[in-house]
Symmetry: C2
Subunit: 298 residues, 2 copies
């Protein structure tokens, strides 16, 4: 039976540290501020955005929510981003994904001031991650995975981490993060994906297996070596007529099949998910400190 | 017995294509130009730089070699880079590594106009590689490895590529290149390194094994599964009193031990090495074309 990795609990520790930092910064006359831009009305996005706003307020941070209609032009969104770049009260800017199909998401990300890019998707921050420059922002979900390992004293150094999924948001960034030199890194990292031949043979090599594919319960018992640590990044909605809302949430891992094999595993929900939002807050506090430091240097 | 992968031959095919492109560009009134900056007098660097210059001239390209004393100040080097950035006749700028210890190599790389960064080390190009944006420049050695696979019709798609070494110049960049979506990519990629536990077990997983550690003949027969393809990026000087010059060149792979096992293998010298310089020329021609295109758009 695996230890359940309690992401809610670790997230609350991270958030407590953020709360203390916010109080410190406010004593210095500076309240960290996060702006979240939502274009259109994707129901899942609305849930995420509301949760981010609630967490900000709970920590004593300044929160700004900008809701734009789905018909918003690219130009208009770029103007909104430019205003937020210039706004002294805003330390972090997050444009909620996905954007409506007529928009160029890459251009929007590149328009965000890298010093306020708390999502870590701006090319300047992507490069800093690859270059192991700690002044950058690391995407929140990979950072949350690393923090979970740290909280459970699972040191990836020298271990074989197999990541299934090669998105920039999770797989590729986590690979760069965990193969870097430094604490809670130095791992041997494999990135597998939809094109991988004999996925089972690859994932069974893992000391630490990370699922980030977005396919409900794709990884089963056959994919996991006994004693492996399993981090499940997937959050999938699966129809379930027995549930009042008509669906249930599940991960990319078949939890009930894998849990007896693993030495530790994250549940869905309550595993990696809460960490993502906690690291967003942590990045925003970091942005506030860095910007404040720069202002004092002037 | 393995096929020997003949890097010299493939490089000459790449260079022939460059030569044809140079002729085309010159017919349009534009000669591609590469500037190489050498600070101090490292003997190996001098050999590399001379070879780059010779290849440029052989292709009909414009070549500029700037030799600065080891005592050059950081400021002075940045001025030289700024002049080359502004020089219309120069499409590619390469500052030969290593720089003297008093210099900040990162700052110098960041000072190069990314559109002329034919080495692919500028953060903007690093990010483009991670973001799979083909407008960037990929570092020459990883690009050369990919081209060798292509030349020998060894498609890495779905295959397990194990790279030993996590430098930005080779290991990490090659990992990003081969895990990307696209032709001659889509590989399952593992990055191993000095901290990897049980390296033998990891490297024996490889369908394609890449050695990029800089340790003479570190990988032996025990590291290689029968039938694997082996690319040896290492170029090491080892004392050899039987040689007139007092040393011999060898790779990171024990060639005589591995060659009987591998299905294909690069020798050292004559494997990956010639590809690096060929891809530098190819990147310079690409830079010239891109800059020319932009000028016409104005």
């Amino acid at each position: 039976m695996a230890d359940q990795i309690n992401g809610k609990k670790v997230a609350s520790v991270v958030l407590d540290a953020c709360r203390a930092e916010v109080a410190e910064l406010m004593a210095e006359g500076r309240r960290p501020g996060l702006a979240v831009v939502l274009v259109g009305s994707d129901p899942a996005s609305e849930v995420y955005v509301a949760s981010k706003e609630r967490t900000c307020l709970d920590l004593g941070m300044h929160s700004r929510k900008l809701e734009l209609p789905a018909s918003t032009s690219q130009e208009k969104l770029l103007e909104v981003v430019a205003d937020l770049n210039a706004d002294e009260d805003i330390d972090g800017i997050l444009v909620q994904s996905p954007l409506p199909p007529h928009m160029d998401e890459g251009e929007v990300v590149r328009a965000i001031n890298p010093a306020k890019d708390v999502d870590g998707f701006h090319p300047e921050n992507v490069a800093k991650l690859a270059l192991e420059d700690p002044s950058g922002f690391v995407p929140c979900t990979p950072l949350g995975c690393q923090r979970l390992l740290e909280a459970y004293a699972i040191d990836p150094a020298g271990k074989h981490v197999v990541i299934v999924g090669r998105s920039l948001i999770v797989g590729k960034s986590l690979a760069l993060l965990l193969m870097a030199k430094g604490p809670w890194a130095n791992a041997t990292v494999t990135v597998a994906h939809s094109r991988t031949q004999d996925l089972v043979a690859v994932t069974r090599q893992a000391d630490i297996l990370v699922a980030a594919v977005g396919v409900p319960e794709m990884l089963g018992a056959e994919h996991v070596r006994e004693g492996a640590v399993v981090l499940d990044v997937g959050v999938n909605r699966v129809d379930d007529p027995e549930k009042k809302r008509g669906y249930r949430l599940c991960g990319d891992v078949d939890f009930s099949a894998v849990e007896p094999l693993a030495s530790a595993i994250t549940p869905v929900p309550g595993g990696v998910g809460p960490m993502t939002i906690a690291m967003l807050m942590s990045n925003t506090v970091k942005a506030c400190r860095a910007r404040r430091g720069q202002q004092e240097e002037r």
